[in-house]
Structure formats: structure tokens, C-alpha cells
């Protein structure tokens, strides 16, 4: 009996000590843990795309990354079938943080950040943190894709599927490919140190993780530090009479937009047949058309984009207000004018 009591006490003590030591180790900022994992451990509802860390694999993540960047991966020594012959994910999406403040979708701030970090300024939102969002294909995307967006709005896997077959004009992903993509996106989800939390807020998170705080309030606090949806407001092209034709535009900003945005797809090795470069011929052409209501006018094409057609599937996505502001459009035109004869 005596030995039994001692045994129980030793085991209980061991559990107590180990649990304390675990909690001390669990500093989400020191280990830069994934925001989604912290939210789940705080008791937040698990999103459908959530996969527990123990079930994630670096090999599967690398397959997902390969598909995102190249459209295929190498599995069992063989290249897999390309997902789309027209686009890869990185043609339209960055895979790194693109907003200096994750809580704000501001195209002006994004341009400065993109120029500083030397990353493209693309028409669609970054996939870094896409797993931290709660809705996808938001707002005006229903104008473009109609009822197709309904199942994609609350389920990331459905959103990835829609992107694969509609946006990239490719085939549907196989189950293992979808899992690989989800695992890759989980791997580039927000880290705790990406969030703009001050020291007091960080301490609240630590306490809540140790069962010493209001977990619901901390969940809300964490979620307030990044956008839960990427807003999408479609714009009509400005009417000819309302265009300022670059009059109040900033050519320096316009240069950044031209190089980080336009040339990403329209450079000689880009995805489109319509090539642009930094020559007078290109700028003369863009200047000539900018004042017109025509396909080649930057005012029209940036806001309307083009659509995939039978026989020619590559198309240009439209830029929403949140991806390129009207002022940035004027900046671009100002740059074009400054470079044209």
C-alpha cells in the first residue's frame, strides 16, 4: 500500500513537472510558431483545411511548392503531369508576404513594400497567409465567376480547385496534389512574429496559452492583426473624359508599377504573347492607346482584363481597386508619357 501511494505521488509529480516545463518552453514568438496552430491550441474552431503539425510532412510540402512554382513536381523519380500549360500559381500570386501591415490591404503601401523587397506586384492576392483567411473569392469575384464562387467562398480546398480549373485554365488537382498544395500553403501561413503585436499583447498570448488569460479575447486579438479576407472591388474603366492621362501621376511610382507588375507577365519570357519592354516603341504604343476606349488602353485593360477564349486560353486578370488604385493607374500613365516620344 505504502509503495502504491509513493508510486502514485512520483508519477503525479512527474506529470506536474513535465507539464510546467512544457508550458515554459511554449513561447510562440521564440519558436515563431504558425498562427493557425496557436489559434487551434487556444480553442479556435479548426478550419476545414487545417492539418495538425504532426500530420504535415516536409516532402509533401515540397511537392506543393513545386506545383505552385512550376505546375508539376517530381514524384517517384518521374515528373507529374503539368497542372496548367497556361499559368502557374506564381504568375498571379506571390508566395511571400506582400503587405507591410497584414491587417491592411492598401495598394499604395504594397507598392512601396514590393519595391523594397523586390517582389512582383501581381493582380491576385498573396498565398502567404491564405490559410489564415476565412473566406476566399470575395466580393465582386461573383461578377466574374458567377455561382462558381459559392462553394469556394468558405472552403479553401474549393477555392484552390476553382483557381486551378478557371483562373489557371488547367486541370483539376488530384487528391494528393490538393493535399500537397494545402500543406504548402500551411507552411507559408502567417507566423506569430509576422503579426504586429506589442510586448503587452505578446504577453497576453503567452498567458492565454498557459491557461491564464481570456482565450477568446486573445483569439480576437490575434485575428485583428491580419485580414481575414482579401477584399475585391471590381472597377469600371474610367470614362475617356474623366481620365487625367497622368497629369497628377507620379512617374516614379509608375515606373515601379510598370516593372514590378506589367513586365512580370509581358516581358519577353513572360506568359503572354503581347510583349512589352522599356523601349520608346512600347511607350509610344501605350501612350497612343491610353486616351482611347480600346483594348490596348491601360485604363481599359487593367480594369477589365481579358477572358480565356477557345483556341487561346491565356488571359489577363483584371486589377481590383485593392490591387491597383486609380491614382496608381495615373502614376503608370505618367510614367508611360514620360518615356514616350
Amino acid at each position: 500500500m505504502k509503495y502504491t501511494i509513493w508510486g502514485i505521488l512520483i508519477i503525479a509529480g512527474g506529470i506536474l513537472v513535465s507539464s510546467f516545463s512544457n508550458k515554459k518552453k511554449n513561447d510562440p514568438f521564440k519558436d515563431n510558431e504558425k498562427v493557425l496552430d496557436i489559434l487551434v491550441s487556444l480553442g479556435d474552431k479548426r478550419p476545414l483545411h487545417y492539418i495538425a503539425p504532426k500530420n504535415r510532412s516536409s516532402e509533401i510540402v515540397s511537392h506543393g511548392k513545386n506545383i505552385a512554382f512550376n505546375g508539376f513536381t517530381t514524384k517517384d523519380g518521374e515528373e507529374t503531369k503539368i497542372q496548367s500549360k497556361h499559368f502557374v500559381c506564381t504568375d498571379c500570386h506571390n508566395m511571400v508576404q506582400e503587405d507591410p501591415d497584414l491587417a491592411v490591404a492598401d495598394p499604395e503601401a504594397r507598392l512601396k513594400y514590393a519595391a523594397k523587397m523586390n517582389i512582383p506586384l501581381l493582380p491576385a492576392t498573396t498565398m502567404a497567409g491564405v490559410v489564415n483567411r476565412e473566406t476566399w473569392y470575395n466580393d465582386d469575384y461573383s461578377k466574374k465567376y458567377g455561382s462558381l464562387v459559392a462553394p469556394a467562398r468558405d472552403t479553401l480546398r474549393n477555392a484552390i480547385h476553382l483557381c486551378a480549373v478557371q483562373c489557371s485554365q488547367g486541370r483539376a488537382l488530384e487528391d494528393w496534389e490538393m493535399e500537397a498544395m494545402v500543406q504548402y500553403f500551411l507552411s507559408i501561413g502567417h507566423d506569430m512574429n509576422d503579426l504586429a503585436l506589442n510586448e503587452d499583447e505578446k504577453e497576453k498570448v503567452r498567458l492565454a496559452l498557459n491557461g491564464l488569460g481570456d482565450e477568446k479575447a486573445v483569439i480576437d486579438l490575434i485575428k485583428s492583426k491580419y485580414i481575414l479576407k482579401s477584399p475585391a472591388t471590381f472597377m469600371y474603366p474610367q470614362k475617356k473624359e474623366n481620365r487625367k492621362l497622368g497629369e497628377n501621376g507620379n512617374p516614379e511610382n509608375g515606373k515601379k508599377i510598370f516593372e514590378l507588375s506589367c513586365l512580370t507577365c509581358h516581358k519577353e519570357t513572360g506568359v503572354t504573347n503581347y510583349k512589352l519592354n522599356s523601349t520608346t516603341l512600347t511607350f509610344n504604343h501605350l501612350k497612343y492607346w491610353s486616351s482611347k476606349d480600346a483594348h490596348f488602353s491601360v485604363y481599359n485593360i487593367i480594369r477589365k482584363g481579358t477572358y480565356a477564349k477557345n483556341g487561346y486560353k491565356p488571359y489577363m486578370p483584371n486589377y481590383t481597386k485593392e490591387r491597383l488604385s486609380d491614382q496608381q493607374l495615373e502614376d503608370l500613365v505618367a510614367y508611360i508619357n514620360s518615356m514616350a516620344n
Partner: protein, 287 residues
């Protein structure tokens, strides 16, 4: 440790330096100047569908208003597919109606880019093109005719071209094209081998519109009264790049497409109005 770090930094810097893309693109807009190939190659997995048409003589006895300046007649028609096996290696298969002595032609070609013009290295691009042609026309019963084929090999002809081009500026490109044609079976007074030196240019007027020209000096024209006179082929064209299609409207004195036709068999005398309108449409698909 420090040394290893320096080596790593050096490797990264040198990799970035060497990976900088200094290639010069768009020396010409398509894989052709007018009749001849250009130094442009299709990119890997691109399929170029090309349709070309050469009308009848604008003036002279077969031209004028009665034929709508040649529009009512067709000298040659080309329909073909070309494919980028790699960024540097292309193959193609084209069917020609045929405009010389040989009709119903099938042409296969292979094209390889040996050197790409680069701003920091090579001043020119260098491309080789090898073609084989076979005619499917019925053999003539006249044994003196160049089409009185006795076996399959007599239906075959070959052409080889070396293309050397330089893009001097965004507006101006120039190409030299030594060409050699071998026809297995020709008329008695004709030559099996024909050599020529061609030159082509592109003058880009706007982003979408360019003027191009081409001329070939044929070295060993048959000099006999039993053979119609052979002229040096030339052509001028306006090229429209719509961003999707490349559309070329041309005027040439050669009736046929393909080097085995227009190099040895340009019989049209431009001074007698025997030049013709033509067009080519190119549409590239990604496979």
C-alpha cells in the same frame, strides 16, 4: 568558417551574375522574314499554325484589272504546323500547292539555333535550317519533263540555310542567309544544285507595325535559251503584330513558298509587272 561563408557568398553572387538574362529578343516577329526563315525559334511546346497565300501577277499579261491585279489567281498556298521541341530546336511540316515545275509539295524541316545574340556576348544569332521536300504530283509521261519521275528519290529536293542576324536597335534588324538547294531531278538544262546569298531586314515603325524586306542573289542560274530565265527573288512586306496573330501582307516576285521553289524557280520578271500580293498569318498555340 569565415572562409566558407565568403565562398558561399561568392558562389551566390557569381550565380546571379551569370543567370542575368542578356538575350536579345524579337530580332524578327516570327520564324520567317518573308519567304525565308528568320533566326526566331518557337519556344518549347509552342505550336505555330501558319497559312500563306501568293496571288497572281499584279500586272503584265496575266494581271491587271481583269484579275483584280492578281487577287483572282493563286500562285501558291501554304498550310503548315511548326513545333518547338526545345527553345532552340524546331521542326515543321508544311503542305504547298506548288508554284514551279513541282506541285503538291510536302516539306519537313528542322531548325536549330546555335548562337543567340546577347548584349554582353554574341553580337549575332546563328541558326541553321535543313529542309526536305517531296512532291506527290503524278509523274509526267513526257520523259523530257522535270516531273517525269522514275523513282521516289527523283521526287525529293533539299535545302540548307545558315541564318546570321543581328538586332541593331529596337527598330532595325538585319539578316544574312547563305542558302544551298539540291534537287534530285531537274530539267536537262537546269542545275541540280543552286546556291544563293540572301539578306533580309526589319524596320519597326511602331510597336505593332513593321516593314520587312528580303533579297536573294542566286549564283548559278542556268544560262540557256531552253530554260526560262531565273530571277533573283525579292519581297517587301508590312507586318502587323496584334499581340495574338502576326499578319504579314507582302509583295514578291517569287511565286512559290519554300527555298526549293523560290531560289531556283523564280521565273517572274518584276520589270514586266510579274510581282504579286501575298499574305501570311501566324498563330501560336501553347501545347
Amino acid at each position: 568558417m569565415k572562409k566558407q561563408l565568403y565562398i558561399l557568398i561568392f558562389l551566390i553572387v557569381s550565380f546571379n551574375a551569370s543567370s542575368q538574362d542578356t538575350r536579345v529578343f524579337n530580332t524578327f516577329h516570327t520564324t520567317r522574314v518573308i519567304s525565308s526563315h528568320s533566326t526566331e525559334t518557337l519556344w518549347k511546346n509552342e505550336l505555330d499554325f501558319r497559312v500563306g497565300h501568293r496571288f497572281g501577277d499584279i500586272a503584265g499579261t496575266n494581271g491587271g484589272p481583269s484579275t483584280m491585279f492578281g487577287i483572282d489567281n493563286s500562285s501558291d498556298i501554304a498550310v503548315g504546323f511548326e513545333y518547338g521541341v526545345t527553345n532552340l530546336f524546331n521542326i515543321g511540316l508544311t503542305r504547298y500547292k506548288g508554284a514551279g515545275p513541282y506541285r503538291q509539295l510536302f516539306e519537313g524541316y528542322a531548325k536549330y539555333k546555335f548562337i543567340q545574340q546577347k548584349t554582353d556576348k554574341s553580337p549575332v544569332s546563328l541558326v541553321g535550317v535543313a529542309k526536305i521536300n517531296a512532291t506527290a504530283m503524278p509523274a509526267s509521261l513526257d520523259s523530257t519533263s522535270p516531273t517525269s519521275f522514275t523513282d521516289f528519290t527523283s521526287r525529293i529536293s533539299y535545302s540548307y540555310q545558315l541564318l546570321i542576324a543581328r538586332k541593331f536597335s529596337e527598330r532595325f534588324s538585319l539578316q544574312l542567309m547563305p542558302t544551298f538547294v539540291h534537287r534530285n531531278y531537274v530539267a536537262f538544262y537546269d542545275n541540280n544544285q543552286t546556291a544563293a546569298l540572301g539578306a533580309g531586314f526589319r524596320l519597326q515603325l511602331t510597336k505593332m507595325i513593321g516593314v520587312i524586306g528580303e533579297y536573294h542573289f542566286v549564283f548559278n542560274k542556268p544560262e540557256t535559251t531552253n530554260h526560262p530565265p531565273v530571277f533573283d527573288p525579292f519581297g517587301f512586306a508590312v507586318e502587323f503584330n496584334t499581340g495574338g496573330h502576326i499578319f504579314q501582307l507582302n509583295i514578291t516576285n517569287s511565286r512559290g513558298f519554300g527555298e526549293a521553289q523560290y531560289i531556283p524557280s523564280t521565273f517572274s520578271d518584276a520589270s514586266a509587272g510579274q510581282v504579286r500580293f501575298g499574305f501570311t498569318i501566324s498563330r501560336i498555340f501553347k501545347l
